[in-house]
């Protein structure tokens, strides 16, 4: 076993143990900074101890034990400002086993849950929730977080520091809330994870490879949440939705890093393994007949995933699902998406009638003008289409979006010349 491989396997084990370990340390120290620093210290010790003495039977238990001792020593040192502390006690094999057995209990769930709830504290703006979860739960470095969000390191650092200060001021939730409040917090955690995924997914072309880890991290957190709430249909829907969307990652960009639309994607490059798991979760959630917005969005992604070719897509079913989503979560954007499905199932005229009432509310939304332009072009109203598409170009947020609209404008031009 060489050092490089050893280090890689330790990294995986430490990352897997992290939510449980930091959660347990947070319960013990009741302070995010101390819990995090103690865990870092334990990780450093793991890097030197494990290759020498062999991996412990339960890495999480080992890390919690060592981190707790390190944290206590650190607190003692800060208080007394005395010389260097005694060597941190490394648990003997039998105490470690006993500790591992204790950790198997209900505390495991509650610790992770408390950690997730803390990061999604209602006092925190959502961007701070995401940054904090990435730092504390996932263990991403400030540099990695800054790069993923395309912000400076100091800005990322500030987001995390502010989040921690706010939480300290508001008081940590050490008692887990009752069933109703708990369900609300789960919804907040699910929403945070979905936003995190979208941060990675909606990236403009050139930076996609840097942002894919955000998608993967979001999936990991969704699976974690699902293990805590195996019967929560919306958490099943969330996990399914992320898996089904992420399955298309390899087909979403062409060689020039431009966005490839769903109907033009090479479906052979979709990840069948992720699709299989995603479809199963959608089906599993559907058994309960308790529809929620995330499940419906996952069901829409499932219809696309089931179509081997774009022309096999069941647009009628997608239209019905968007109609259901409109009743669960009314929004002009959902109506706009429904209109696209309507145009596929019933033609552009009906779709145009559906989006015209949205003009006021979506006047500054890129996609509204893009869809409107495409519908007008299909109806042969080239001049009106050009006006809408030009408006869309002005509002495009990324070069890839603008390039996509430009293609449609070029097509209009060619149609006129031919």
């Amino acid at each position: 076993m060489n050092d490089e491989r050893d280090r890689q396997w330790i990294e995986v084990a430490v990352k897997a143990a992290r939510p449980q370990a930091v959660g347990a340390l947070l319960r013990y120290f009741r302070d995010l900074d101390i819990a995090e620093e103690a865990f870092q210290e334990a990780c450093l010790r793991a890097l030197t101890t494990w290759p020498r003495k062999g991996r412990p039977r339960d890495p999480a238990a080992w890390l919690i034990w060592v981190a707790r001792n390190a944290g206590i020593d650190d607190l003692r040192r800060r208080k007394t400002m005395e010389g260097p502390p005694d060597d941190i006690a490394v648990p003997a094999a039998d105490t470690e086993a006993a500790l591992a057995d204790r950790l198997d209990g209900a505390a495991y769930h509650d610790d992770i849950l408390r950690l997730l709830f803390t990061c999604c504290h209602p006092e925190l703006p959502v961007q701070q929730q995401i940054a904090l979860a990435l730092r504390i739960v996932s263990g991403l470095s400030v540099v990695e977080i800054a790069r993923a969000f395309l912000i400076s390191e100091s800005a990322a650092e500030q987001r995390i520091t502010r989040a921690k200060r706010r939480i300290a001021e508001a008081g940590l939730p050490f008692e887990l809330p009752g069933a109703t409040a708990c369900a609300e917090r789960v919804t907040a955690v699910a929403a945070m994870i979905y936003l995190l995924f979208n941060e990675g997914y909606s990236a403009s072309g050139g930076t996609l490879h840097m942002r894919l880890p955000l998608c993967e991290e979001a999936i990991r957190l969704a699976r974690l949440l699902l293990r805590l709430f195996p019967g929560d249909c919306e958490v099943m829907g969330l996990t399914g939705l992320l898996l089904l969307q992420h399955a298309r990652a390899a087909a979403r960009l062409d060689a020039d890093q431009a966005i490839v639309l769903l109907e033009d994607q090479d479906r052979g490059r979709w990840d069948r393994k992720l699709i299989g798991e995603g479809l199963f979760l959608v089906e599993k959630a559907g058994r309960h007949q308790r529809a929620g917005p995330l499940q419906v969005q996952a069901a829409i992604a499932a219809v696309h995933a089931r179509a081997g070719h774009p022309e096999e897509t069941d647009w009628t079913q997608i239209e019905q699902l968007y109609a259901l989503l409109e009743t669960l979560q009314p929004s002009p954007i959902v109506t706009l998406n429904r209109a696209v499905a309507v145009s596929k199932a019933h033609g552009p005229q009906k779709a145009l009638a559906l989006i015209e009432p949205l003009a006021d509310r979506l006047s500054s939304y890129f996609n509204f003008h893009g869809v409107k332009g495409a519908l007008l072009a299909q109806l042969g109203r080239a001049d009106d289409a050009r006006v809408a598409l030009n408006r869309a170009i002005v509002l495009a947020r990324t070069p890839a979006e603008a390039a996509h609209i430009r293609l449609q404008l070029d097509q209009l031009l060619r149609d006129r010349e031919s």
Binding site: Q8, W9, A13, A16, R220, R227, P230, M236, G276, K284
Partner: protein, 120 residues
């Protein structure tokens, strides 16, 4: 004698593998599988989706359907191989080879009690 080699590991750890780590493990597994298959000793073998996809049907008068895995454990059943071995030593040796491809988890050897009547 027919044996089931049951592969256990943590969903968290296996889910956290890099693509390279995953390919490395599977490539080594495949080499052993090919050898067993060439000797006519490899039966059904498969890997399972993570336990977040599990559903449990529990017997209790009228069976109850529950979301989630059968048991909350640190290590979960990830997949299995059915193999033919001349002796227990041979089964242990095969399990040892599969186990050496990764750094965590365990392989449980369970002799098969009753053969699938359709296949026997």
């Amino acid at each position: 004698m027919r044996y089931a080699l049951l592969c256990y590991d943590s969903d968290d750890i296996v889910g956290g593998w890099t693509t390279r780590q995953e390919e490395e493990v599977f490539a080594k597994h495949e080499a052993v599988e090919k050898e067993l298959a060439d000797q006519g000793r490899l039966g059904p073998n498969l890997s399972l989706m993570p336990t977040s996809a599990a559903i449990t049907v529990r017997s209790s008068g009228e069976p109850i359907v529950m979301d989630g895995p059968f048991a909350e454990t640190k290590e979960q059943l990830l997949g299995f191989w059915i193999i033919d071995c001349a002796s227990l030593e041979e089964a242990i040796e095969t399990a040892r080879r599969f186990a050496s491809h990764k750094q965590t988890g365990a392989i449980e050897i369970r002799p098969v009690a009753l053969r699938d009547q359709a296949r026997a």
